[in-house]
Symmetry: none
DNA sequence: AAAAGCGTGCAACAAATGTTTCATGGCCGA
DNA sequence: TCGGCCATGAAACATTTGTTGCACGCTTTT
């Protein structure tokens, strides 16, 4: 007898299936087809939906080598558990050596980050942009490596809403700004693991002040996401390498700015044109060659 | 306050969290961080692992508007259920107008940028990283929206080469730094159309001083790419929207830092560990929950 | 200082869970 | 046809589940 692929409880089930009594086959097929429900709902519930006897589930479990349904379900649950590091299995890629190791690292990284961008939920960004659009004033906070994201967002938003956008801590200690938060304003906090105290303090102050709080973070359970009206998720750890990835955060920030601008309509457009004209007049830019 | 995203039970939880009693906050955080276990394991089990009273879970559920833990868990379970339709087909680019126009804009943008990343040539990045590795000192320059890229690069490189990396213009007028360029050093300039005078001046000064010049730009014919030893190209205009995209530049910057770090070997690793230890000692970060 | 309110842990409760036992009915070999 | 075997459903079982009432301790209020 060939050794069966014992990796997943589901394959054990599938392999043992044909040699089982008729009724147990039915139940087994049902479990295989509805394994999510199998892990979350009760035996009796499943029995009712499958049109079978509850006892059949216990018997099925024992028939394929488990001590009972509880144990089978536990195995299914573990098999289904979302991996904590990377959602996709491609990470197992063996470390390449040789002269091209560096190039391989780069391509892997870029590939992973490109894929990570596609997994960013879009709806929350659109919602958050509307909140920004409605805000009388916008504060932006980000520390350490997230500072770059904060500054980019600050820069782009100020292009068309110059008087209403401000970086937290730009003109003095953070605390001065924290006390200035008011209802009707919006506060954007950017951060990922490990979270800085400063960013959490900003989020808490924003929440207390009754502002619309937007968190750009790597996890729903990030401390600065607590109490946030909008949480925009990206994958900081999605790519190989040693530093958390900011590509997703930047992409979110730029999308946010783009949609907010779009919501601003002709007013925003006019402001942007004014700003650009001023920059050009100051000859900030190198003139394009005709 | 803006419309809270009430879609998922997790967001409801997050929003209500700050206004909850201390103990319930603990439990709520635990649930948010372990939502998979919350759907699969029993209340008492979770309580034991969270070090809390089982009753707290029931109370948490009631506090955020559910009739009991059972109902909250059911909601979490449904929210987690793998969607019957394919996960990414929702990313259809059909609607260009109407209520979903904003969402469409975001998805299009993310898609385009994700694709843009894959088109970034990897070899020049690896080469540039080697130049950085050999440099006695590294200068980084970026203006306007590129400032964020420059600062990120500065931040990450300083994590493992603190004394040798410096942002141009960080400690006074740019010109002081321009005069300090020396052979054997490396200068990174980031910029895209329209190009700022400042960045071009940095590039020229670097070239004159005989440093290794690395340009991160959107075109081979960018003025700061003239005379550059390494040109790292990305697509600034690849995505819809009104602002040039910085996602590619960020990805390049991070890859550059990663490879440079990798070239640094154990020395770089030790430095990074030292830096991280210092940051942790200064309690910059919020401690991870056990 | 006393009282009122609230948050919290403990313990008892009823309901629901997984399991086992038992009786039934069909199947095959003698 | 009979007798043993096994699959199957129903009911009874001990456990475990989610829930609730109660008492203790803390803070705030009068």
């Amino acid at each position: 007898m060939a050794e069966p692929a014992k990796s997943s409880p589901l394959s054990e089930l599938r392999i043992a299936l044909p040699s089982l009594p008729l009724r147990l086959q039915e139940v087994g097929r049902f479990v295989a087809a509805n394994d999510y429900d199998a892990t979350t709902r009760s035996m009796r519930d499943l029995a009712a939906e499958a049109g079978a006897d509850p006892a059949a589930f216990t018997r099925l479990a024992k028939a394929i080598g488990y001590s009972g349904w509880d144990q089978l379900r536990a195995a299914l649950t573990e098999a289904r558990r979302p991996s904590q590091i990377s959602p996709f299995s491609g990470r197992a890629k063996s470390r390449r050596h040789g002269p091209n190791a560096d190039v391989a690292l780069v391509t892997d990284k870029l590939e992973a980050e490109g894929a990570g961008l596609l997994r960013i939920p879009a709806q929350p960004i659109a919602d958050a942009a509307r909140a920004l659009h409605d805000a009388k004033r916008i504060w932006i906070a980000g520390y350490r490596s997230c500072r770059s994201v904060a500054e980019l967002l600050n820069y782009e938003l100020r292009l068309f809403r110059p008087e209403q956008v401000q970086l937290v801590g730009a003109s003095g200690p953070d605390d001065l700004d924290l006390g200035a938060f008011r209802p009707g304003e919006a506060v954007i906090v950017i951060g990922f693991l490990p979270y800085t105290h400063a960013s959490v303090r900003v989020a808490q102050a924003a929440h207390r002040a009754g502002t619309a709080l937007i968190a750009i973070a790597d996890s729903l359970s990030a401390p600065m996401a607590e109490g946030a009206d909008h949480v925009l998720l990206f994958e900081a750890a999605s790519s190989p390498g040693f530093f958390p990835s900011l590509t997703g955060a930047i992409a979110i920030a730029q999308s946010l700015a783009a949609v907010t601008f779009s919501l601003g309509g002709t007013t925003a457009k006019k402001r942007l044109e004014t700003t650009e004209a001023r920059l050009a007049a100051a000859s900030t830019y190198v003139p394009e060659k005709g």
